[in-house]
Amino acid sequence: MQYAYLLILITLLSAIGYYLGRQRSSRLVKQEIRRLHSLPGHYGMYVALWCSVPAVIILGLWITLQSSAIESLVISALPPEIQSLPQEQLSLVLNDIINIAGGIIVSDAPDEFLLAAAGHYNQLKGTGFLALAALLMTVCAGGLAMGMRYIRPDMRARIKVERTMQALMLLCSAVAIVTTIGIVLSVLFESIRFFNQIPVTDFLFGLKWSPQIAIRPDQVGASGSFGIVPLLAGTLMISLIAMLVAVPTGLMSAVYMSEYASDKIRTVVKPLLEILAGIPTVVYGFFAALTVAPFIREMGGRFGIDVSSESALAAGLVMGIMIIPFISSLSDDVINAVPQELRDASLSIGATRSETVVRVVLPAALPGIVGSILLGVSRAVGETMIVVMAAGLTAKLTANPFEAVTTFTVQIVTLLIGDQEFDSPKTLAAFALGLVLFVITLCLNVIALYVVRRYREEYE
């Protein structure tokens, strides 16, 4: 990528600026560094920032604006009869031009004017790049000179550099926030399109999920129904089974590791448990589908219970195992963070170890433990692979864990797999499901925050 060279160039110039700034600042005070307000390195950083920040901003702007500018120039140079084409056809022509310019020949014999336009396009791009490079060089050099001119022994370089760094950090966190907002909005808008075709009440309270849309009016089974109650039930049931497995196991092992285990055992067991967290969920899926599900089916058969080969129980059990390390590892950390003085206090009154754990340590660690459980629940609700492989695809409204059920995530996957048109409710339903999933996890977070605040025990 050509732009990478420009970035390297800016970096190099900034490095030179850093070096020059250091040199100049220490020379100004004849090597008596104490007379400088800041360390020479800060003056160096100051010059480097002057050199790089404006140049990077210009580079960014150029990259975002360049393609539309060049395109409009190319279009204005096209023959008038082509220019007067409607918008969609014009963009097709433009696509052809760009492809030809990139060396991809679309049709056997491209039109004369297309070839000319492609040449024009390439030429514009070339000049544009050269102009950009020249501009950046000027800006860098200008910034460097400016920065150097500002260096005085009493100039507060450190404070300025630190301010700039702060702004940079703010920018980075803003990226995360803006991305989140973007994701939410895109899901929201597609969902609104979906709700224009299917009423919200049908979606939220419908008891039947069968997302089909007729291609021909007389098709069999043409009427689709989009009621999410079976999916919600399936998701909740599997998550519940998973948490029933993960919370007690995870918490107990956390308590064991932090309160009872010797250092030797701890150093072995903790990493082993964390390996569980590193296993890809697909592998858990195999395990659920090929080992656990048949086992449950066979056991059920022995006791005369009818178990389907894909069951909520199998998926939930394996998902619970997957979540154990999240809960145990995080809880272990928060339990370890409870001050030793509290344990001493409890033991010195004659409490046993288990009384100390139950009455002092766990209450003090509760906010963190709730946090870890919540993280586990969000994993369970959002988990896809295990459920796809072990719980099946049939949307059945049932409370029987031995039957196959399906979840939000599984349905999103099946709705979006393959070639889909983006205006049918069938595809848009995936976004609505995503929105519901998002709202559920959001609610869980709010509830947990409330619980944590309500029951927090202050220490220190």
């Binding site: 250092d263 001050p339 001493d344 206090a345 409890s346 009154i349 004659g350 409490a351 009455r359 002092v360």
Partner: protein, 272 residues
């Protein structure tokens, strides 16, 4: 087993009590090891009933370590090993049949840094009676909590805020809350490990007054860095140095007429 006898100092003064009736705790040839390192060497001393015994000495001399042997809090430190004999009312506390949990109900402890539980003031004091089942119903529990707080001289200050968190009190109040918590299970002995080192002079004076008060009902051992404090609150004083118990005597004798050179140097502030 004693590894080497050469560096062991023979305790002078009156480590053992003449009157057997007054002995609450007696320690004979106690050695404490942290791994290979010996922290306490051949300490033998008697602790008298209903009296304050002060342990003084420079930092790292082993006085806190020795204190923690008496309620077996050292059991919670894995590398720590205790040898010798310690008896409470003539029963060996390191005997196989002794449950350290029950022992600690008889020997309470107050720590250097106030460490109230992150619970309400009431719950802090009710903790011990609850786990030992000392109260049959709510009103008995209330009574225990109130008397304990009264004995610790805290009740009048907190009576309207028993449901507020104990951690919200001032440092001195927190330490008195910890004392109330310790006496709530009616122990016979209270061990205090530098209880005033984190407190200001006014809070310290209050605690010292309280210790003097508590002496009537409890046997008290206090570890302190401050010689003035030892002189003010204790009846007998034991001076530790590098894991040895150098000299034990009536507090008056120790401060007015110490026998051992090390004790003299420490008392006169030549080091420490």
């Amino acid at each position: 087993m004693v590894r080497s006898r050469d560096d062991i100092v023979r305790t002078i003064g009156k480590p053992l009590l003449a009157d057997d009736e007054r002995v609450k705790i007696s320690c004979r040839n106690v050695n404490v090891y942290y791994g290979e390192k010996r922290a306490i060497r051949e300490v033998s001393v008697d602790i008298a009933e209903q009296e304050v015994t002060a342990f003084i000495g420079p930092s790292g001399c082993g006085k806190s370590t020795f204190l923690r042997c008496i309620n077996r809090m050292n059991d919670t430190i894995k590398s720590c090993r205790v040898e010798g004999e310690i008896t409470l009312d003539r029963e060996d506390i390191y005997d196989r049949n002794v449950d350290p949990v029950l022992l600690r109900a008889r020997i309470g402890m107050v720590f250097q840094k106030p460490n109230p539980f992150p619970k309400s003031i009431f719950e802090n004091v009710a903790y011990g009676p609850r786990i030992h089942g000392l109260a049959r119903n709510k009103s008995e529990l209330d009574e225990i909590v109130i008397t304990s707080l009264e004995k610790a001289g805290l009740f009048s200050e907190v009576k309207d805020q028993l449901d507020h968190p104990g951690t919200g009190l001032s440092g001195g109040q927190q330490q008195r809350l910890c004392i109330a918590r310790a006496i709530s299970v009616q122990p016979e002995v209270i061990l205090m490990d530098e209880p005033c080192s984190a407190l200001d002079p006014i809070a310290t004076a209050k605690i010292e007054e309280l210790i003097d008060e508590l002496r009537r009902n409890f046997t008290i051992i206090i570890v302190t860095h401050s010689m003035q404090q030892a002189a003010r609150v204790s009846q007998r004083t034991a001076f530790f140095h590098l894991g040895n118990l150098v000299e034990v005597d009536d507090t008056n004798t120790i401060f007015v007429n110490p026998e051992h050179k090390l004790t003299q140097d420490y008392i006169t502030g030549r080091y420490g």
